[in-house]
Symmetry: C2
Subunit: 244 residues, 2 copies
DNA sequence: CGAGTAGAAGTGGTCAGACCAATTTTTCCA
DNA sequence: TGGAAAAATTGGTCTGACCACTTCTACTCG
């Protein structure tokens, strides 16, 4: 039932199976989880940490690199290693790789998740947005679909959706939804609609969302957001071959 | 407008500001994004990669460690470095750190996201589940709230929710939702309800969800899932001080 | 001839020590 | 007393070595 070729029970050899670097990662992660290390706190130097945890500096650096990648640590050249603020945005930065390397069927799944999150977020935003946020959103909307190059349209598109989810006041929601859409994917969507001569439809999608927000109408906002994601989803399914 | 103390334009010095390890990470990530490296493909050895990208093996290893942490590469001791299958589950494993280190207000945000995702997922499951999946879900449900130790109840609770989101057939959705609930948090919820003598309420929440799925009733499933997450959310807000 | 095994080669994991580059702190002069 | 130069601190990179695990090879034995 248990692992083979393990004689009886093994006291210290058990921990010896797990690589030292991995062990260090888990030790530091545990110290953060149980509050021994607080957000923003400075850690000992790499050399001291290596000595305390009983491994070489190279391996210690690999552990720090892993935790840096996860967004829990931050190394500042010449100034030390620190625990990040542990904000959702810090910890969910890694999330964007999904949108970056996803292809084919996975992209469809990602859009289906967005079709769940964005309508809910947009409805929340309709209920919570203040005049100032809406005014700024209007200026972003104006940049979408103009004839000043697709590059700026894509940037404005990203800003538009990001601004809306941030209106919910839920930074975790904003970080997750932000990680689900990559600039490169949005660029392909706009290019595709441009070649098909239906850029106006995408532009109108955003206008409908904006008007629903202005009207503080959660139901209309939800519907408009759903239709927008659905539009992209349908386009993707029709061009799935190009995303192999 | 641009960065200060940069004389005119700088050709090669621009790339020299970016640490070599970071550059290697981006190069390999780009090769995966553009299809040069395919899922499951084997990479050259660390020594060869280091030589090709023009950096030392130590720095190359740190780059590989970062990409391993992100779930795009996988190093097998003695056997080489490989691109993972790039499944959503591979890329979203890092997601769990959020639930692990989150505390206080962030936990509330996480639950609010779950209150969006879980009802939608449960409604989808109600429409798509087959008899076999439902039968297995029933056996898991029986283990929830028994008097055989909270440990098994927590494990069954996790399995229950995971099984439901997997019924949607959307592995990305399953991976995201899975990362939003940690075993330790669920354990505290059950302990809290146990001490307050309201374990039955949690148990009934799960039964209601199960009955809605059996009835293939998406609306009822959505409502039951919403109420369940709300129950946990309310409990958390009442005990937020314990999660500082 | 084939199966199994022992050895060799290949490859990731760890360690040691050195030097470079950015930051911070200290020192000391104007 | 203010500020600039110098020293100390600390992360970033490189080199080269050795260990542990896997895979391949070739040999031996039935």
């Amino acid at each position: 039932m248990s692992s083979p070729d393990v004689p009886p029970a093994d006291p210290a050899a058990e921990a010896d199976r797990v690589p030292v670097t991995q062990r260090a990662i888990e030790q530091i992660k545990a110290m953060i989880a149980d509050g021994t290390l607080r957000p923003g706190q400075r850690l000992p130097t790499e050399r001291e940490l290596a000595a305390e945890l009983g491994l070489s500096r190279s391996s210690m650096r690999e552990a720090i690199r892993a935790l840096t990648t996860l967004g829990v640590l931050e190394a500042r050249h010449g100034a030390g290693v620190y625990v990040t603020a542990l904000r959702p945005a810090d910890l969910l930065e890694t999330f964007s790789v999904l949108a970056e390397v996803a292809r084919g069927e996975t992209l469809v799944e990602v859009l289906q998740v967005r079709r769940i999150l964005e309508p809910a977020a947009t409805a929340l935003a309709a209920a919570r947005a203040d005049d100032d946020q809406l005014r700024r959103l209007g200026t972003v909307l104006e940049r979408i679909g103009r004839d000043e190059g697709i590059g700026d349209t894509v940037a404005a598109d990203l800003s538009f959706h990001q601004a809306i989810v941030e209106m919910t006041g839920n930074t975790t929601l904003a970080a997750i939804n932000g990680g689900l859409s990559s600039r490169t994917f949005k660029a392909r969507v706009w290019h595709g609609h441009h070649e098909a001569g239906v850029v106006a439809r995408l532009r109108e999608d955003h206008e409908r969302i904006y008007r629903a927000l202005l009207a503080r109408d959660p139901d209309a906002a939800r519907a408009a957001a759903t239709m927008h994601v659905l539009e992209v989803e349908n386009w993707l399914c029709a061009h799935l071959d190009d995303f192999a």
